[in-house]
């Protein structure tokens, strides 16, 4: 038995044992589905929710919120990080502003998200943006500050005449690994913000909204279903991203993982 199959088998075994213990505790120790739904309760709830048909729609809505927020964070965070990392004046100008805004918890933006955007997709996207923007910005900034000097000088003697050329052909490719790990952190933070944004009523759809809604209805097995879906989708997004990055972007860093 090779190591891969061994790892798989042990993983599956651990999950199965956890499920059995969970079932026993829920059914025979706690005994109330409201306090701790059992595995079979949750499975049943899952089948019911599949039948009612909003599960897929809610996932799509949540992904939409997430996508809007993350793309906005990328579109602003990467260029501003580049500016601050490359041009000292931009750093001195923007740093005080960033330092004041950054410690504000992303969820503190929820009231203004609603006032500015109403109960729209953009409002939820904005809260996710508030969470994802700073990790991307700071990662881009430090990746640019850490570009080895010898690469920049090599670029100069090889004919990069302008800052734009140096950024495009030397600094940005050198900074990609750092930016990529910032994006991964941002996706994690963004996903957390997503649930909160939807729970606090920025949206009337989505996985986070449904989770909270089912809590009001005291449908705790449904709550667990949404919790698990949130976990799985988050995991899935991270895996796809890592795969893409390793295969497409970072072939030149064999053996290292973003």
């Amino acid at each position: 038995m090779n190591r891969q199959t061994q790892k798989r088998l042990l993983g599956v075994a651990a999950l199965a044992i956890t499920a059995v213990i969970w079932q026993i505790i829920a059914e025979y120790v706690v005994g109330r589905s409201f306090i701790l739904p059992s595995v079979t309760d949750v499975a049943g709830a899952f089948v019911n929710l599949l039948g009612s048909g909003t599960l897929l729609a809610d996932t799509v809505v949540s992904l939409e919120h997430f996508g809007i927020g993350l793309i906005a964070a990328l579109l602003l965070g990467v260029p501003i990080g580049i500016l601050m990392g490359w041009f000292r004046v931009a750093d001195y100008l923007l740093d005080p502003i960033i330092e004041i805004l950054r410690p504000i918890p992303p969820l503190a933006w929820i009231p203004f998200a609603i006032i500015w955007f109403g109960l729209t997709t953009q409002a939820a996207g904005f809260v996710i943006f508030a969470g994802a923007f700073f990790p991307i910005l700071t990662a881009t900034y430090s990746a640019f500050r850490d570009v080895p000097k010898v690469f920049v000088e090599a670029g100069k003697v090889l004919g990069c005449d302008t800052s734009l050329e140096l950024i495009r052909y030397v600094a940005l490719p050198a900074a990609i690994p750092g930016i990529v790990s910032g994006i991964r952190i941002a996706m994690g933070v963004g996903w957390m913000c997503l649930v909160a944004a939807e729970m606090f009523g920025v949206s009337s759809y989505g996985l986070g909204y449904q989770l909270w809604h089912n809590y009001y209805l005291h449908q705790m097995p449904n709550v667990v279903v949404y919790m698990l879906i949130l976990g799985f989708v988050g995991l899935f997004i991270d895996r796809i991203f890592r795969n893409y990055v390793d295969k497409q972007l970072l072939r030149w860093r064999a053996g290292e993982v973003a």
Partner: protein, 253 residues
Amino acid sequence: MSGVSIRNLGKAFPKEDGTVTQALENVNLEIGDTEFICLVGPSGCGKTTLLRIIAGLETATTGSVTVEGRAVTGPDPKRGMVFQEYSLFPWRRVVDNVAFGLEMKGVGKEERRKTADRYIEMVGLSQFRDAYPYELSGGMRQRVAIARALANDPDVLLMDEPFGALDAQTRNRMQKELLSLWEQTKKTIVFVTHSVDEAVYLSDRIVVLSHRPGSVREIVEIPWSRPRDRTSAGFAEVRRRVLRMIDETENPQ
């Protein structure tokens, strides 16, 4: 065609406390076309600074450097540079590293790769053209770096202790290969080294710099043909002379 002329060159670095460190003072040096020059001197004598000023990566405080009659004002692909540290772009394959300068000049993909392939062959790495730098040994990386500098067809090739990080055997092989490249391409080479042995083996003239502030202390001509025999009595004699000079400038009586 492409001599380097250094006149009354001085360089001072400002320090934190407002005073300055005079790194180079009153350096005068004429380097002929297709000449192979080695700069040696005690550590901290400013030989790397001098090379970087010729490259245009540092600006002189006083005096001037002209290459082929034109004053040096900034980095230019006409002055190729090979660094001591590994400076290949790790995200580019060997062929695209070598083609980088041509890409900056706007040469089309097909053509620049063809030129790059020629230089990769010249340094004997054709079978690694599609490899990434992390797949290469230290000696191979420096060969690619040399090919990358040559692909721009520079007037002068500036080399800052390029073999300093290599083991002794690889280093000797690289020196031989560099001489053969120099004979093929007829470039002017300015080569900074810590190793007097390397300087005697490679150069037409050895320029010995004095201790800080660096200036030209002495120029030693080496008229012998190449390849040179490191074990010969004459070789040892020149090496001893240059070492004594460096030693004297470092510990003046």
